[in-house]
């Protein structure tokens, strides 16, 4: 496999496991089975490697954002898509949580996180308008504000709650959310 990509993926997995706090370049190199100097050959600094992880994680999430399914069901499909992602790639939300926290002290990361948030909100706003027109939900007074609120809730749900909270609790909250906006 491509070394550069393998290193990013290893770093991604280690961040998911130990947070930024526990990320060590040595561990990343070891996980790929490569010398530390090789890591520095591809990523001159640890910071550059982290940038790679940011791109990898955000790209991975972006692909989930793309609407699909029959027009009237797109909103529900969006929730289902997020929930499926949380089941298949729980690490992704852990890493995104770490990135959100880090964005507080890192302008570059903050900008990237914000961009993804905005795309997410715009997507959701469109889906809300769509669903309202189809009669699937009540017409919200301000779809964009509702979308922002929903994004906030989903972030809190998937990025902050530990897996101590079983998947059932997450499903329950998702259903409660759908009921609330219906």
């Amino acid at each position: 496999m491509d070394r550069q990509e393998a290193l990013v993926q290893a770093a991604y997995e280690l961040i998911a496991e130990h947070g930024f706090e526990g990320l060590r370049t040595r561990d990343v190199a070891a996980k790929v089975g490569v010398n530390i100097a090789t890591l520095h050959y591809y990523f001159p600094t640890k910071e550059k490697l982290i940038r790679g992880v940011v791109g990898y994680a955000m790209g991975r999430f972006r692909t989930t954002l793309q609407p699909s399914g029959s027009p009237g069901e797109q909103l529900r499909a969006h929730f289902a898509g997020i929930r499926r992602l949380a089941r298949t790639d729980p690490e992704l939300f852990v890493v995104m949580g770490e990135l959100a926290m880090r964005g507080r002290r890192d302008r570059g990361i903050a900008a990237i996180v914000r961009d993804v948030d905005i795309v997410w909100e715009k997507t959701l706003t469109a889906l809300l308008r769509h669903a309202a027109k189809e009669g699937a939900i009540a017409n919200p007074a301000k779809p964009d504000e509702l979308a922002a609120l929903i994004v906030t809730t989903l972030k809190g749900l998937f990025m902050l709650s530990g897996d101590s909270r079983d998947p059932k609790a997450i499903d329950r909250q998702l259903h409660a959310l759908e009921r609330l906006i219906a």
Copy 2:
């Protein structure tokens, strides 16, 4: 001032500023103007110091949770209380976010965070029932589920969004939330 308390508070502030990732015992001692050995005199290990910070932060948040105001206005007062806290002590939510993330890898912290969450949810459940009885909001089918959802949203709102998002955006989302449950 009490040394032990001063050290905890300094650590608390440094975590708010640099996250757990950037917490250094030396910096904590320096901030109090004390030798590193003195820090270790009061807290044998860094982990013990962090436990102190956990207690400090959570205690600080608990006091905000206590209901107050006229019966019919308690729900609104709760939101107002949280919002005020976010204005006067923004660091508190930063630290709580850090703790939530760390709870994923630390059973002890996870338990404490979960306890506070449960108290928060119970408080909110009672307030929702109260508000419904007073006719301030529609009677929710499952107040406890709604409460859990609101807690999730508030956590996402205050613990994940950087201050890049101006306070106005936070106010807007809070109002949208109040409108949604009314």
